[in-house]
């Protein structure tokens, strides 16, 4: 009897945690970005959440010093896919707020919550900006 109750509690806990992580995922990817139309990022979501900064840092060194630009982990790739637009079709800074809805954008949401300062965009552009070729 005790065993059955324990099992039931365990199952309930699993279902609850799955529901929470599903809700989380919806909140972190911004509606209207390319990423929102895709099933997953370049790696499973859980891995991306935990390791994205390692991916980006590794990519940064091989890109700057060896010129390799075809890997999945480029910061401009993150921006291109996760950036959203406002109602006028203008890109919203990925590390900022949507002034219309006060919704925190993709990077800002988690980084502000976790209190981890984000330095990428003091040099890199936070919206796609194309010039020349």
């Amino acid at each position: 009897m005790v065993n059955t109750i324990t099992r039931l509690i365990l199952i309930a806990a699993l279902v609850f945690s799955a529901a929470v992580s599903g809700a989380d995922r919806k909140n972190s990817v911004i509606e209207g970005s390319k990423a929102a139309e895709l099933d997953a990022c370049v790696a499973p979501t859980a891995l991306m959440r935990r390791e994205h900064f390692k991916f980006i840092e590794h990519q940064r060194d091989i890109t700057v010093h060896q010129g390799i630009r075809d890997t999945d982990h480029s910061l401009s790739g993150c921006v291109d896919c996760h950036v959203a637009k406002d109602t006028h079709g203008k890109h919203l800074p990925i590390d900022g707020l949507n002034p219309e809805t006060a919704e925190k954008q993709f990077c800002a949401g988690c980084h502000e919550y976790s209190g981890v300062q984000l330095d990428c965009f003091s040099c890199h552009t936070n919206v796609p900006v194309t010039t020349g070729k």
């Binding site: 390319k34 139309e37 895709l38 099933d39 997953a40 370049v42 940064r60 060194d61 091989i62 890109t63 700057v64 010093h65 060896q66 010129g67 390799i68 630009r69 075809d70 999945d72 401009s76 921006v79 291109d80 896919c81 003091s122 040099c123 890199h124 552009t125 796609p128 900006v129 194309t130 010039t131 020349g132 070729k133």
Partner: protein
């Protein structure tokens, strides 16, 4: 499974970027090349050495098309004069990858006007003095700053005999995806490294020059146009006495 997914995702992104290229084209912005760009997958090697040949006899006096072209492509024209700065100090300190310079032969009085950018030395003094290894020479001869490790000490600016480097003094509001920049780092011409790595020909300065004075190419490829031109006619290095073996060569001075 994940490979399949990845392929689908790439297809999607590729289609989306082509669609974007087709819809966003504005005058002077050549977005269609993005669709053809093939990013580099192998590390750069010393089989190539990139350089420029500048024929100053073709340079028109007062022309600065190469400077404008460079600034447009590399986002230098997006930089704003800091509040309270005088026009004079801004003109003196604003970041530039190419400067137009006049040199006069003292004996004959002959004046040449030429664009001066990073000379992409084989033995770059800026790399010698950099305390963090941020200033480096890529295997293909491009001298660059890794701004992730640049601490903004500006030793390289002091060491460069060509005054080719600029410093970013203020926070930057707007910059292009291909040329990140931020306060406290040094930068200079990188021979349009985003084009090198995405298989796009030429440089912004070469494209902008209406007089055909700038030729970009691979100095290590004996069949390249630049190698043939260098072989055919005499050329000079600026400050050849320093024995830096520059990647940028000049004619007519």
């Amino acid at each position: 499974m994940s490979d399949n997914f990845d392929q689908n995702r790439r297809d999607f992104v590729s289609v989306a970027s082509k669609a974007a290229a087709a819809t966003l084209i504005a005058p002077g912005v050549l977005l269609q090349s993005v669709a053809h760009a093939k990013p580099r997958s192998e590390p750069v090697s010393d089989e190539n050495r990139y350089g420029l040949l500048i024929d100053t006899t073709k340079c028109a006096d007062g022309c600065s098309d190469c400077v404008t072209g460079c600034e447009k492509e590399n986002g230098l024209d997006m930089l704003l004069k800091p509040k309270g700065a005088s026009d004079e100090s801004w003109e003196r300190q604003r970041p530039r990858w190419i400067r137009t310079v006049k040199v006069k032969d003292r004996l004959s009085g002959h004046v040449s006007s030429l664009p001066l950018m990073c000379q992409h030395c084989e033995h770059p003094p800026c790399v010698d003095v950099c305390p963090t290894g941020a200033s480096f020479r890529r295997a293909d001869g491009i001298v660059m700053v890794d701004r992730h490790t640049c601490i903004g000490c500006r030793y390289c600016m002091m060491a460069c005999p060509y005054k080719a480097r600029s410093f970013i003094h203020e926070n930057v509001q707007l910059r292009p995806t291909v040329a990140p920049r931020g306060k406290g780092c040094v930068e200079s011409c990188n021979l349009c490294v985003h084009r090198r790595d995405n298989d796009v020909a030429g440089t912004a300065c070469q494209d902008a020059c209406q007089h055909g004075a700038i030729l970009f190419g691979d100095l290590n490829d004996p069949n390249s146009e630049i190698s043939q031109a260098l072989k055919e006619r005499n050329h000079t290095q600026l400050r050849a006495d320093l024995k830096l073996n520059t990647g940028v060569r000049y004619r007519g001075i």
